[in-house]
């Protein structure tokens, strides 16, 4: 059941016109997937929407955009279905509605987390410990972050199971997983089909900026995540607690990762300001922008914390960094962060499908 009654009928109207044209089938995976059917159930639309990367190539190439009476705006229609599906499949839905749409809510949560960490740093100052653990004991950090990381992932897993069922994806095979990772690793669906990128921030001119900036954020995030994992392994397996020197795995992974996230989020925020909001889900623009800024804040506070080693700024920067990371983790199922999970699911669902066929003029 759709949260907004008009979203699916409007998307269906547009997709049925689109499917009678098919000029755009070279842009991305959405159009070949579309041609497999002539009638579109809600689950079909949900799958097409989650395959769509909002590159907007099809909008600028379309003969039927306004002022034409067909008034097609496929990127916006699919963005609406996509945002709706993330809200509808989230548990609890109310949190997704709140944080997807309202950047202010995310900011408020961040302020709360910040206040909480300042208080925790003051209240639970450890008697011993070095590095960060001189400010907040290792045990306390684990007690906070382990559940804040695992519980959101469990919620996302439940949502993805519902998604997989809704779109009728079938069996999960290793080949499908590998194909999906290959597509995401190269961000193939933002290539425009010709490798020159998408129509995001410069109208009908193609650029790869969004594709590259997105990869900077994605790979930067993964490097930072790997840095954390390596730190965990060193802490528990090698009995080598933080702080780590520059020439250590956590730093060698984390510093480039943080820089990539910083550059990527700054660039993506700038592109988002220049792009036409009418070609996306305008009602979640605030939440999306807040998510980009939050990712940037995670990187910025992390890098600043490293730069401030040994100074009096460590305590406030540690609080700020932990607060941004906590909000990022806690809001994974309810913010734009969830798009990565749905995207992988959609790419895996698509990977197993037969090639389209048809007839025509």
């Amino acid at each position: 059941m759709s949260l907004d009654q008009s979203i699916f009928p409007e998307a269906r109207r547009q997709i049925e016109i689109c499917n009678a044209c098919r000029y755009c089938e070279g842009f991305c995976a959405v159009f070949p997937a579309m041609t497999r059917q002539t009638a579109f159930a809600d689950g079909d639309l949900t799958q097409l929407a989650n395959l769509c990367h909002n590159c907007r190539g099809c909008y600028y190439a379309c003969q039927y955009t306004e002022p034409h009476e067909f008034a097609l705006n496929i990127p916006a229609a699919l963005a609406e279905v996509r945002a709706e599906s993330w809200e509808r499949l989230a548990r609890p839905q109310a949190l997704a509605r709140l944080f997807q749409r309202h950047g202010v809510a995310m900011a408020a949560l961040l302020v709360l987390a910040l206040a909480g960490f300042f208080w925790a740093l003051a209240a639970f100052e450890p008697a011993t410990g070095t590095g960060f653990y001189a400010y907040l004991a290792h045990g306390a950090m684990v007690a906070i972050f382990a559940p804040a990381f695992v519980l959101p992932l469990v919620l996302i897993a439940l949502s993805l199971r519902a998604y997989w069922h809704e779109v009728g994806a079938g069996g999960l095979r290793l080949r499908r997983v590998l194909q999906a990772f290959d597509k995401a690793a190269r961000m193939k669906n933002l290539s425009g089909g010709h490798g020159e990128g998408c129509n995001f921030e410069q109208g009908d001119r193609f650029t790869n900026r969004r594709r590259w900036l997105h990869q900077a954020v994605m790979y930067g995030f993964l490097l930072c995540f790997a840095s954390t994992i390596s730190g965990t392994v060193m802490h528990y397996a090698l009995n080598w607690p933080a702080p780590y020197p520059l020439l250590s795995l956590p730093k060698l992974l984390g510093i480039p990762g943080g820089l990539m996230m910083l550059a990527g989020t700054a660039g993506l925020a700038r592109l988002k300001l220049r792009a036409d909001p009418a070609l996306g889900a305008a009602r979640v623009w605030g939440g999306e922008m807040a998510f980009i800024l939050l990712l940037g804040a995670v990187a910025l506070t992390g890098m600043a914390l490293y730069a401030a080693t040994g100074t009096a700024l460590v305590a406030p920067l540690l609080a700020a960094h932990l607060a941004t990371v906590l909000v990022l983790f806690v809001l994974m199922p309810f913010s734009k962060m969830v798009h990565g999970f749905y995207r992988m699911a959609a790419l895996m669902a698509e990977a197993g499908k037969p090639a389209p066929a048809g007839g025509g003029e």
């Binding site: 049925e16 016109i17 499917n19 009678a20 044209c21 098919r22 000029y23 755009c24 089938e25 070279g26 842009f27 070949p32 041609t35 002539t38 190539g57 099809c58 600028y60 190439a61 379309c62 003969q63 039927y64 955009t65 306004e66 002022p67 034409h68 009476e69 067909f70 425009g192 089909g193 010709h194 020159e196 009908d204 001119r205 389209p356 066929a357 048809g358 007839g359 025509g360 003029e361």
Partner: protein, 463 residues
């Protein structure tokens, strides 16, 4: 218009593929160029925005084309559709020049894709634009803008002022304001007259008012009329237009590709009296859709009704509007405004004439009726499995044949000498080569080849 020079080197009338090819070519040769596009920006590009591919000669596989497609085979394909109504030397010149168009288009921003669903039969002969014709138009406008070409939208050229063998200026309105445009050379690439229903009605007869116009409402033929009135030589049958059978519920203008209906070979088609009038299964649809426009145009009220049953649903490309659906033939007739008894009779007669046999939707299967005055010679299966579906058919006009006569240098001809500073390209002169019928993707080929020639000639003239 404040930043316009007093006199342009070249003024191009029109803003579709041919106009853009002329403008880009001239600007790259150093000319200052103005494009006068009759449509507002969202509708720029004329009928090019509805196109999808161009037909390209090639000796060996070259992306995105497979195999090879030589000049003689290409010319024979043209002869088949035009039934000989073509200027062989111009046609062969266009065909030979089409080969070098592909890299030229790519270097000016056009991107191609392999032909995919439903168009595999054209993968050897036609190069498909990634995103279709509007994406091509966008790419050319961006390139034009980068080259400093001035572009006026909403620019309605009302008069091309001829003084002997020279054009002196254009009279136009730009966004409603009267403007006199002076240039040292002029290219006319403003399309045919198919959007002027009054003209169509004068040429074809009053029935033309019931035709739908598949493309741009801005091809009104104003400049074509003006030049013919001033003694330019004309080519092409002035009474004829190219029309295909499309969904009768399509918009009056600009419905484009989605209004196609591919169901005819699997249907029976009746007129408003519920009578069949032509062999629906004569050949595969890509070879027959072009004649059905005229067939429907010759029926009372210029309307037809294609009817299928549940067996045939899904055998053809989806329609843009859902079909009318009913559980009985009588109910379907009522919903479509046909006489239920008459339609019942027609269907019963047809069904009784069907014979058992293997049905192959993708090839000529020879499954034919027996004993009917209007036979169906392939895919003839009885309409007996509810629900039944119906589509209204109307003639959809794609283009007109009347045009300006040009020579191989795109110069506009007159009974005296060619006009010295005037060239024409695209649909406005295509009748020289395409006198009848249509060959998929050939309009864009003519526009690209002659657009480039016109731009080159104009730039040489002012250099």
């Amino acid at each position: 218009m404040k930043d316009w020079p007093a006199v342009f080197d070249l003024a191009v009338v029109g803003g579709g593929n041919a106009a853009l090819c002329a403008a880009l070519t001239a600007a790259e040769a150093g000319a200052s160029v103005l494009i006068l596009e009759g449509a507002p920006l969202p509708y720029r590009g004329g009928n090019s925005r509805h196109t999808r591919n161009f037909r390209c000669m090639h000796r060996a596989p070259v992306y995105p084309l497979t195999g090879s497609y030589g000049e003689d085979e290409y010319f024979n394909d043209l002869l088949l559709v035009t039934k000989g109504k073509t200027d062989e030397s111009l046609a062969r010149m266009v065909i030979a020049a089409s080969e070098e168009c592909l890299p030229w288009m790519q270097s000016h921003g056009v991107r191609f894709q392999p032909s995919l669903s439903g168009t595999l039969s054209l993968s050897r002969t036609n190069a498909f634009f990634l995103g279709g014709g509007k994406a091509l138009v966008n790419a050319y406008y961006n390139t034009a803008s980068d080259l400093g070409i001035k572009i006026a939208y909403d620019a309605d050229v009302t008069h091309v002022h001829r003084d002997g063998d020279m054009i002196t200026h254009l009279q136009a309105t730009v966004a409603g304001q009267p403007v006199t445009v002076q240039a040292r050379s002029y290219v006319l690439a403003s399309g045919g007259f198919q959007a002027d229903l009054d003209w169509l009605a004068r040429a074809w007869g009053p029935a033309a008012r019931n035709f739908l116009i598949r493309g741009t409402p801005y091809n009104r033929g104003t400049v074509l009329r003006d030049m013919l009135d001033q003694g330019a030589d004309q080519v092409g049958d002035p009474t004829q237009c190219h029309a295909v059978a499309i969904d009768g519920r399509a918009p009056k203008y600009d419905g484009g590709i989605v209004t196609r209906l591919d169901c005819v070979p699997f249907s029976i088609v009746v007129n408003k009296d519920a009578d069949r009038f032509y062999d629906e299964g004569e050949d595969v649809w890509p070879k027959r859709y072009a004649i059905w426009g005229r067939l429907v145009a010759n029926q009372p009220d210029q309307v037809g009704y294609a009817l299928i049953d549940a067996k045939s649903m899904g055998l053809f490309m989806p329609s843009v509007f859902p079909p009318v659906k009913a559980d009985t033939i009588e109910d379907l007739a009522t919903l479509m405004g046909l006489d239920p008894h008459a339609l019942r009779r027609t269907v019963d007669t047809f069904n009784a004439a069907c014979r058992p046999g293997p049905f192959h939707p993708t090839e000529l299967d020879g499954l034919r009726t027996q004993g009917l005055n209007v036979p169906k010679t392939n895919w003839a299966r009885p309409l007996d499995t509810p629900p039944f579906y119906g589509y209204q058919l109307r003639p959809g006009v794609t283009f007109t044949y009347l045009g300006l006569k040009v020579d191989a240098r795109a110069r506009v001809q007159t009974p005296q000498e060619p006009i010295r500073n005037l060239w024409a390209a695209g649909e406005i002169m295509a009748g020289s080569i395409l006198g009848q019928g249509y060959l998929a993707g050939f309009g864009m080929t003519i526009g690209t080849v002659f657009g480039r020639i016109a731009g080159h000639e104009a730039a040489s003239h002012v250099a």
